[in-house]
């Protein structure tokens, strides 16, 4: 009786073959963005090398995420296809749990990009902290507060060192009843960073047109101390040759907008505002994302985005930092009322 163990949730491609629960052979190497090409071929190699017939495969264990979106889909699609064809059980295990170190309590971490990490804490089959996404400063605090836990993973991006991980040994002991997938045909990965299904509102971002002006002015006037007049806003929309305004729409109502300029290799955010009722629901994130996409679609490459934000507006500064903007300098008395501006920049290529 054989079992197949698969993981491609991160930069590695790992395939293991176990016979009666003993790991008898394994293939594991760095294959970032190559898993799609090589994973099936590696499984084939292992099966042929040990002369395993398909009827001798008893079950498949695969890591289900969180991790690289494409990576987790590759191993899971292969696993689903095998268990569908052979009508055998499928076991799904957290791709963080397979990073635990022996039976030591382990903080398992992978880079979720945008200054965030996927984190889960495990001791054997016991879950101490369930898988979640965490801002990196918070991760560092958590690590400091738990000196009794070991770290695992490639943690150079956090300035930390993790212990080496034996993913395949961990997968080999993950065929527990808790991990048995009840409906393997419909099995889906765990993405966590799930802005699509998590947010209950459906946000569409599109270019502003003049019919949106009343809604945009209402949001503008509610959001800013010294709002633009409608005349200024109309200039931005209709005449400013380097101006771009995108609006976020929920149920055909405009709930936010971003106004930015693209000049040669850089872009500048003039304003971004979200209707108070729709804050903290991903609208701003969608607007920033759409702006970055617009910048990437320019014929002349846009390399970085700049902005000024009021010194007192710490909420906005936190929002920008979350979106990979960094503080460069303070511009004294930048605003008409004498307040300083924080000058922030991010490069377009970030994740």
């Amino acid at each position: 009786m054989y079992s197949l163990l698969l993981d491609s949730s991160n930069t590695n491609l790992s395939v293991g073959l176990a016979q009666d629960h003993q790991l008898i052979d394994e293939i594991s190497y760095e294959a970032w963005q190559k898993q799609s090409e090589f994973m099936v071929a590696e499984i084939d190699k292992l099966l042929k090398k040990h002369a395993v017939q398909r009827s001798e495969i008893a079950f498949v264990v695969v890591s289900k995420g969180p991790g690289s979106y494409t990576g987790i889909r590759i191993a899971l699609t292969i696993a689903k296809t095998i268990v569908f064809a052979l009508n055998i059980p499928l076991y799904l295990v957290s791709s963080l749990q397979v990073m635990k170190v022996g039976d030591k309590p382990t903080i398992c971490l992978t880079n979720a990009r945008s200054q965030r990490s996927y984190i889960g804490v495990y001791q054997g089959q016991k879950e101490i902290l369930s898988d979640r996404i965490m801002d990196n400063p918070q991760v560092l605090t958590y690590v400091k507060e738990h000196p009794e836990y070991v770290l695992s993973g490639d943690l150079g991006y956090l300035g930390l060192k993790g212990e080496t991980v034996d993913v395949l040994s961990n997968l080999n002991e993950a065929d527990t009843s808790a991990n048995l997938c009840a409906e393997p045909l419909g099995a889906r990965p765990v993405y966590l960073k799930d802005s699509y299904s998590a947010s209950e509102i459906k946000i569409i971002v599109r270019k502003m047109n003049s019919a949106d002006m009343p809604s945009v002015m209402r949001i503008e006037e509610a959001a800013f101390k010294n709002p633009y007049t409608e005349k200024q806003m109309t200039y931005e929309l209709m005449e400013n040759p380097v101006g771009n305004i995108l609006v976020a729409v929920v149920d055909s109502n405009v709930v936010g907008f971003i106004d930015f300029m693209i000049t040669f290799d850089s872009a500048t955010i003039n304003q971004i505002a979200v209707d108070e009722k729709f804050r903290k629901r991903g609208v701003g994130t969608q607007l920033i994302g759409a702006m970055i996409k617009t910048c990437q679609a320019q014929e002349d490459e846009v390399d970085f985005v700049t902005l000024e934000v009021r010194l007192s507006n710490t909420n906005a500064q936190r929002f920008y930092k979350k979106h990979a903007f960094e503080v460069i300098t303070t511009k004294p008395k930048y605003y008409d009322d004498g307040e300083d501006a924080i000058y922030m920049v991010r490069s377009i290529i970030n994740d």
């Binding site: 071929a41 084939d44 095998i82 419909g186 990965p189």
Partner: protein
């Protein structure tokens, strides 16, 4: 007896088809249109997720309909490109896994070749032929001098015609996908708005749709600024006349220049009623045969992939298990997949 199982996942339809010596036994399509409607276009990450969820469900259903077991299949075919990369990966893994488990050939298929060969379900291809490939991702004129012999003689320099329909529909407040609603409104309207025909540059048979899209957007905005109503039916008609007119013009010119025996429409936009009627009218009396695909063949499905795979099976065009996807695969490179 050759039984082929084909998988298509290049965009927003997950599909599995099975043929037995050319006879279609099953063609299961899990469409995602209702999901992408909310966004006014296909969201690649969401599409990839849905393919992953749906793929084995579609496989199970196709085999059930065909009353076959996977070990009774002789070859596994898959769309290798062009398409959305994350989506292509999913179908590829499933096809490779099956080919590996049952030690059967893996056949890599070009998506557009599928749209062209879909016409073999309703007619016989006669060479030389001109294929007009018009869809959400493609606008191409392809000359075929024989089976699997493709030469692209014209293509879009920017947006695809179907993409242009979707974007114009969005500006006009019509649902996604935009093809059908614009077609319906156009039937009720008159060509009253002046939209310049875009210039596609030097290529005699090339297309350009980005300028047309911008013209509609600017016109709608300036009407709104002036407080004038947009006459939806007339705008749809004016747009459709120009968008389809460009295809009619270039396709008939190419058909004459290349002395083709047959013209074949393929791709999602070939469902457009105005394109179908006008092309029929223009080719009448020219001696050029026109094949119009059945509506079920105008959207993405695996039956058309299986049709190409039959030809590839005969020629033993098989791929190794290290096959990768190619989101920009050229149709003339259909035999190159290393």
């Amino acid at each position: 007896m050759t039984r082929i199982l084909a998988i298509e996942s290049s965009c927003d339809e997950t599909s599995v088809a099975i043929t037995d010596n050319g006879k279609l036994l099953a063609n299961v399509v899990a469409t995602q249109i209702a999901v992408h409607e909310k966004y006014g276009g296909v969201m690649p990450e969401i599409a990839s997720r849905l393919h992953t969820e749906n793929i084995t469900v579609c496989l199970t259903e196709a085999l059930r309909q065909a009353k076959l077991k996977p070990e009774e299949i002789d070859a596994f075919a898959v769309t290798r490109g062009p398409g959305l990369i994350g989506c292509l990966h999913v179908g590829l893994q499933a096809a490779k896994t099956l080919a590996m488990l049952y030690d059967k050939p893996l056949i890599p298929v070009h998506h557009l070749a599928g749209h062209i060969y879909a016409n073999e379900y309703v007619g016989t291809l006669k060479f030389p032929l001109l294929c007009v490939v018009v869809s959400g991702g493609n606008t191409e004129l392809v000359i075929m001098k024989g089976d699997l012999d493709f030469e692209i003689i014209g293509e879009t320099k920017d947006d695809a015609v179907g993409e242009c329909y979707d974007k114009v529909a969005r500006v006009l407040g019509l649902p996604y996908p935009g093809g059908l609603p614009i077609d319906q409104h156009a039937k009720l309207g008159k060509h009253t708005y002046d939209l310049p025909e875009p210039n596609a540059g030097e290529g005699k048979y090339d297309f350009s749709y980005s300028g047309l899209k911008t013209s509609v957007i600017n016109l709608v905005n300036s009407l709104k600024m002036k407080g004038e109503p947009v006459r939806l039916d007339d705008m749809a008609r004016s747009f459709q006349d120009v968008a389809i007119g460009m295809i009619l013009e270039k396709a008939t010119r190419a058909a004459e220049d290349y002395h083709v025996k047959q013209m074949v429409l393929a791709g999602g936009v070939s469902a457009n009623s105005y394109l179908r009627e006008q092309m029929k009218a223009r080719l009448e009396g020219t001696g050029i045969d026109l094949i119009i695909p059945p509506l079920w063949c105008t959207t993405d499905n695996a039956a058309m992939i299986a049709k190409v795979a039959e030809h590839l099976y005969e020629r033993k065009v098989f791929a190794p298990l290290t096959l990768g996807v190619d989101p920009n695969w050229r149709i003339s490179d259909w035999a190159k997949f290393d």
